[in-house]
Symmetry: C2
Subunit: 344 residues, 2 copies
């Protein structure tokens, strides 16, 4: 909608994705204390924003995890290409070749888990790979027993093998802490068994839900910790909600209110988001439609024009739905960041 | 990722949003036969694509429904501004003023349902409004008994009142056909009661789920019929699936396969999408993560590199997640359309 000169967060046109700078800095500092420097490889898929990645770099992390070729290329273009890992399997020649070309200005490592993905990476001219190992999540990754063979194929094709990665995504949220710890250890046993066959300096795993349980791997791939969402909030980790979508009440009556934050502004795969009133009160969310959330405040009656804050249930897809993030300190808008790593 | 010169749909980089031109034309022609010309006001929120709207105009519809100011402005800019209805309440001055400026090249009517929305529209210099009436869906819209008052406020503020609209969104999918017909009639009774108080030439309602039940209104606001999704498919209406997201199998084993169509490429508010194999076979979808769908083919074993087609459960948010739609006839890619009405 063009540049906006307002500086008060409540004057922003809505729906407005707003990052609270102080809260984000708290999260970045907290994680950097737990996993300093190269011990953390922040996952940019959680925010898709090179300006935010630059903040993570300012906290000492210069290696990053990406989920798409466009994320890799965007990070390289932004001068954040010290050590980029594409933690995903890609087969399309043009996209692999684009990453191979970017090797002139960035270090790029791609995940492989099959003879086909090895062959595609080699054919495109990529120089470094990591072997993706299935550690229990039914998604990508070879069996631990196949990892040595995959590594040998990559080396035979002339590529360097940096090590192994394995994402225990099925263990990010486990109710019983002891059970989670035990199962993460088992998953890492699988990953280290693969590493014994593969070699290399890198053993990469983990996420925001398990960041506190990793002591054996060389690096943790967390991403959501920077901005957080209501799904990860239940873990009780020391990360705070640093991103809200502000909305305006556009219709209201004695029974319910309607704000302009709909399912095109909110990742819905983890269910409904949470509506917060500006006085700190809560609300029951009835449902979201394309451009609206219908809800009932716990106390009081809202008026047309009032603002609300909506907490995403899943931060990653929510970020991907917005073109812009506003950065605020308190109520003051201090910056505008482009969500520049969207799409593929 | 830059221009792609391939013309076979299976050579597209994935995830690839693909519109089947013949199927889309079937849908457009079918709806135009049921509600020709101005009897249909196609809702562009369902596709967010001016190129597709131009196809709807070629089928005789020159009035359009929009859900956001950006959709209105984009349609005006694209020369499709004969009669644009913003079927949504907006309060932000800059966005209302931008639409008021666009009145020099487009006819723009905005929905109002409260004294505040009337005042905001008038202050911005908008010239025409429609009174949005709640016909049973708990979302925007005034009570039928308040519609006359809202209209009087608008006229007193110097704006023309074109009539009433009321969206019976809660009745789009009702299992029992007789029950649906009866409840739609009741909803329209509410709308016409409001119209008696408001006056004007326009009585606008309906959607893809109820398009066949409207005989009293002056226009129907359907949008999803153009491309369809698995949610509306259950209705058994004569519209066919005309949009798929093509994916590539990036990892596979004897138990399951993983394709690169994740929840950042698929609206998830209606649940999981449907995976179709290219041989016509189906699959059980286990889950989606950011960039992946894990599924089990009903028959056979897929190989890395195979393509699949994924049917959205909800077309509107799916379109909003993509920057580009590829248009195909059979297997041949014949055009590339920008999804140019994304965001707000």
């Amino acid at each position: 909608m063009g540049p906006v000169t307002t500086t008060h967060v409540l004057d922003l046109p809505t729906p407005a994705l707003v990052i609270d700078s102080d809260r984000m800095q708290h999260n970045l500092a907290t994680m950097a204390a737990a996993h300093p420097g190269a011990a953390l490889r922040p996952h940019v898929k959680a925010h898709k924003c090179t300006a935010l990645a630059a903040q993570q770099a300012a906290h000492g992390h210069h290696s990053f995890t990406c989920a798409t070729p466009l994320e890799v290329l965007g990070m390289a273009r932004a001068g954040l290409g010290t050590d980029l890992l594409l933690a995903n399997e890609v087969l399309h020649p043009a996209r692999l070749e684009a990453m191979a070309e970017a090797q002139s200005r960035a270090r790029i490592t791609v995940a492989v888990d099959s003879p086909d993905t090895v062959a595609a990476a080699a054919a495109a001219g990529l120089r470094e790979v990591i072997v993706d190992v299935n550690v229990g999540l039914p998604r990508c990754g070879c069996l631990p027993g196949d990892a040595g063979h995959i590594a040998a194929l990559a080396r035979a094709a002339g590529m360097a093998v940096r090590g192994v990665m394995g994402y225990e995504g099925h263990l990010m949220v486990v109710d019983d802490a002891d059970d989670q710890r035990r199962r993460v250890e088992e998953a890492m046993d699988r990953l280290f068994a693969a590493h014994d066959e593969v070699g290399g300096d890198v053993v990469s795993a983990g996420g925001t839900g398990t960041y506190h349980l990793h002591h054996r791997v060389t690096e943790v791939q967390a991403g959501s910790y920077a901005l957080m969402d209501s799904y990860y909030a239940r873990l009780g980790h020391p990360f705070v909600q640093a991103c809200h979508v502000y909305g305006t009440v556009v219709s209201a009556n004695a029974k319910f209110a309607v704000a302009d934050v709909g399912l095109k502004a909110m990742g819905m795969d983890h269910g409904n988001p949470t509506v917060e009133l500006l006085d700190g009160g809560g609300a029951d969310v009835w449902f979201l439609s394309d451009e609206h959330v219908t809800f009932v405040p716990h106390t009081g009656v809202l008026s047309v024009g009032d603002r609300v804050r909506v907490v995403p249930a899943h931060i990653d897809p929510t970020m991907a739905m917005h073109a812009t993030a506003w950065v605020a300190t308190g109520h003051e808008v201090i910056d505008r960041w482009e969500i520049d790593l969207r799409n593929w």
